[in-house]
């Protein structure tokens, strides 16, 4: 793919100048000043003795307390929207899925739509270069999710730029019909979740031969006979059926699916990261080098709370961990992503993303862009991430406390791994005393299935069926500061399958 960049003046600056640009945008956006009026920050900042007018530089941000997703949710519950939005021109409301709790509502202001216009141009350039005549099958969610509204923003962007892009936008439940359409229309690109892409590809391979036989039964033509013969001697793959030449994938880690996507579809997937709270202000996308996702310094101030700090925080709840700007981190540094955005309607100031990321490089990318590159690990120490299914380990803890009919739990841990490409949860339990193993394991499996979306996900093959493993003695894992870890991510979860 092309190495053309959308705007070399802002995308290829030396790192030091990018940081200056970041500072200029922070100042110009008045994000901190505007945020100070919001119920999200004003009381908390006042209690911390913060004078927002004194927060002028990126370094000054360190004086501000972090904002977490649960705080955001709490404020949204307690205050009416007008109390926590930072614009008088909200144009659209979108919400998170709520898989990690009550959905969070995100106002999109006119300034956000404008900023997103630039982001889309950048994003499309990262993926397909300067190509003007692209076509895409966009499989998204339903309102009020961002994956619905975002699709139309892409379309309107094309109109404003007067650059044709052929766009078929469908909601997830309509995917099957849409795939038939995509094949007929020979659409060349796709936006969807990687697990869904692999599921579709597996379906294509599994159904090609029976489908061809069925077609021949219906209509005994030479073409259909050749179809039967072809599918009986060769394995049909998605690339034989679709015309997809590129794809952007998000919502879960792409790496475990990378080789499967390459094998089935014949192209390298582009990984994209963008939480609902952030996507309109700062999407993070992989370029054609596939060596990390570029996080743009002109739309946010990205910081990292490194692992050691996170562990100390876990061990000492009152400890406030220190964060470092991402551009000062060495390659390989892992930590929780913290973002300050310059958004119009809902500027997020030092917002903890609950996602661990790894810094890939702060050096210029071979694609010529200079914005740092990261890899999102899509996990934190308390968030269970099974591809598209996410929930807090503490919700599972609550659920397991209800167990007691067929036995009691002495110790437990949840291990997240993969079976092939599919994420898999393994609940390892050390029972207290003697139990009826089969009945107890079933009771535990039922509890696990009660987690939001879990049963539907494995029944629809999006994840592997969760497993319950009863052990005589559970081997506990502890953080470097000695805290027992309830959630363990095995290497297989993030590695290439």
């Amino acid at each position: 793919m092309s190495h053309n960049v959308w705007n070399a003046e802002t995308e290829c600056l030396p790192l030091a100048q990018l940081v200056e640009l970041c500072q200029a945008k922070l100042t110009e956006s008045r994000a901190v000043e505007r945020a100070a009026l919001s119920a999200l920050y004003r009381d908390k900042w006042a209690a911390a003795g913060i004078d927002a007018s004194e927060i002028r530089t990126i370094q000054d941000l360190a004086q501000l307390p972090y904002l977490t997703g649960s705080e955001l949710r709490q404020v949204q519950t307690e205050y009416e929207p007008d109390e926590w939005i930072s614009t008088d021109q909200v144009r659209l409301w979108i919400s998170t899925s709520g898989t990690t709790g009550t959905p969070k509502w995100v106002p999109i202001g006119e300034g956000d739509l404008s900023a997103f216009r630039d982001s889309i141009s950048k994003l499309m350039n990262l993926i397909i270069g300067e190509a003007e005549d692209w076509s895409v099958l966009y499989i998204g969610g339903s309102a009020p999710f961002i994956s619905e509204s975002g699709g139309y923003s892409v379309l309107v962007n094309q109109i404003l730029d007067d650059k044709r892009g052929e766009f078929a936008f469908v909601a997830m439940p309509e995917s099957l019909d849409a795939l038939t359409f995509a094949r007929t229309a020979k659409l060349e690109g796709t936006f969807l979740a990687p697990s869904l892409a692999v599921l579709i590809a597996e379906g294509v391979s599994a159904n090609a031969a029976p489908g061809a036989r069925e077609q021949f039964k219906k209509e005994k033509t030479l073409k259909n006979l050749l179809g039967v013969l072809a599918t009986s001697v060769m394995k049909i793959k998605a690339k034989n059926v679709f015309n997809f030449k590129w794809g952007a994938f998000g919502g879960e880690p792409v790496d475990p699916y990378r080789s499967a996507i390459l094998d089935h579809y014949g192209f390298q997937p582009h990984s994209a990261y963008g939480a609902t709270e952030l996507l309109y202000s700062c999407p993070v996308v992989e370029c054609s080098e596939h060596a990390g996702m570029h996080i743009y310094l002109d739309v946010c101030v990205p910081e990292l709370i490194v692992k050691e700090e996170l562990e100390r925080e876990q061990a000492e709840p009152s400890y406030v961990p220190q964060a470092m700007p991402i551009w000062e981190a060495s390659p390989g540094t892992v930590g929780e992503l913290v973002l300050t955005t310059f958004a119009d309607a809902l500027p997020l100031i030092r917002y903890r993303m609950s996602d661990l990321v790894e810094v890939i490089s702060t050096e210029p990318c071979p694609c010529t862009r200079t914005h740092p590159r990261i890899k999102v690990l899509y996990r934190s120490d308390d968030m269970v991430s099974l591809g598209l299914i996410r929930f807090s380990i503490y919700l599972l803890k609550d659920k397991l406390q209800e167990v007691g009919t067929h036995g009691e739990i002495a110790k437990w841990q949840l291990r997240v791994t993969r079976e092939g490409t599919k994420p898999k949860a393994v609940l390892v339990v050390e029972p207290r005393g003697e139990v009826d193993k089969a009945a107890f394991a079933q009771e535990l499996a039922d509890k696990l299935d009660e987690m939001e979306g879990m049963r539907q996900a494995w029944q629809n093959n999006l994840i592997a069926r969760p497993e319950v493993r009863l052990v005589g003695e559970l081997e506990e894992h502890r953080s470097t500061l000695g805290k027992v870890k309830l959630l363990i991510y095995e290497d297989a979860y993030l590695g290439e399958a």
Binding site: R91, D133, A143, E148, E166, F167, A168, A185
Partner: protein
């Protein structure tokens, strides 16, 4: 964000005398080479060739009568027989699909001008129904790839780019009920305009009551600010009074088709939907002709231009549009309508009014 004019031209076209509107339609048909462009689409190409149609010979509106009708089944057939890229007569920018799933589902191409026209008609819908600055919309949309899914977003952009009424949109979907708390949030945000399918509005009554924790409450007790509803996708008439009683809103009917951004809209006179003559040439196949067609195999019914028909006439609506990606040429929409009148409406709009009676 930059400005882009999406409002339809010429200014004041909604109040042009009917004769001028007819002339404007004819001008757009001929100057826009609609029939010549359409002849490149697989929807018409083969059938017109068989019928000996000379697309270049359509020099005035009356010449349309020489052309065969097209219909949804022709569209399905065209896509089955010819490669999909031959269906639009220019490259598509977006595709939307009809409600039916499976083989009968029609995928309709839209090009840039079609999308801009859609935005323009949404702006007009706001103007005709009396949308005010700062209105907060609660929109409930069917799922993509239906064109009705696009309505709130295209309207929002029409407003951001051109009309500048600072409209705010909260969008939910029936599919997400129970999977999202959008009904609760709607109660908190207190919309002023409801924009959805009429049946969805009725089905939502209990969900809003549940969201408010007041099982007996009607939406009109829960939404203090909502003053009007714009309803699309189904006939409003059978549900109008129920909606009025439940929500306490002034309901407006709006006709939407996938094949073309029609958006024929009811005005505050509530005496039919204005059929926009500047974006199409409408005809009606009268009921007696439809009956004759049913009775006599091979009979080709005769249609009458709406502006030449008498008030009260009932029949199937046929449209010729000036679309970019897929102009409809004498396309039978399969909907029965009654012509309410071609005289000037009490709201001042001059475009004829129809009521939708149901499926033909």
């Amino acid at each position: 964000m930059e400005r882009l004019k999406v409002r339809l031209e010429p200014d004041g076209v909604e109040r042009l005398p009917l004769a001028d509107l007819v002339q404007l339609g004819e001008h757009r048909l001929v100057e826009g080479q609609v029939v010549q462009r359409a002849s490149r689409s697989s929807l018409y190409e083969e059938r017109w060739r068989r019928a000996g149609v000379d697309a270049g010979a359509v020099k005035q509106r009356n010449d349309l009568r020489q052309l065969p009708f097209a219909s949804g089944s022709h569209a399905v057939e065209a896509v089955k027989r010819r490669p999909l890229p031959r269906f639009p007569c220019t490259k598509a920018w977006a595709w939307y699909a009809t409600d039916t799933a499976g083989e009968r589902r029609k995928w309709i191409p839209y090009a840039k001008q079609d999308l801009l026209l859609y935005m323009g008609l949404l702006a007009r819908l706001g103007q005709v129904t009396g949308i005010k600055e700062g209105d907060v919309f609660l929109t409930v949309t069917p799922m993509a790839p239906r064109i009705t899914n696009a309505l709130p977003y295209l309207w929002m952009y029409a407003d951001v780019l051109d009309t500048r009424q600072r409209l705010e949109f909260l969008v939910g979907s029936m599919f997400m009920l129970g999977r999202s708390n959008w009904t609760e949030f709607a109660l908190r945000r207190q919309p002023t305009v409801l924009f959805c399918l009429p049946q969805d509005a009725l089905d939502l009554v209990e969900h809003f009551a549940k969201a408010a924790g007041q099982p007996e409450a009607k939406p009109k007790q829960l939404f203090d600010r909502v003053r009007m509803g714009i309803f699309f996708g189904q006939p409003l008439a059978p549900r109008r009074e129920q909606i009025r009683a439940a929500y306490g809103v002034e309901p407006f009917d709006c006709y939407v088709t996938t094949e073309f951004p029609a958006l024929f809209a009811e005005c505050p006179a509530h005496n039919g939907l204005h059929l926009w003559m500047d974006v199409c040439i409408p005809e009606i196949i009268p009921t007696d002709e439809l009956e004759k067609e049913k009775a006599e195999r091979g009979y080709v019914p005769t249609a009458v231009f709406v502006d030449q028909a008498s008030a009260g006439i009932e029949g199937e609506l046929v449209l010729t549009t000036f679309g970019e990606a897929l102009p409809l040429v004498r396309y039978r929409l399969g909907d029965l309508v009654r012509l309410v009148g071609t005289d000037v409406c009490s709201c001042g709009v001059t475009h004829p009014r129809i009521t939708i009676l149901g499926k033909a």
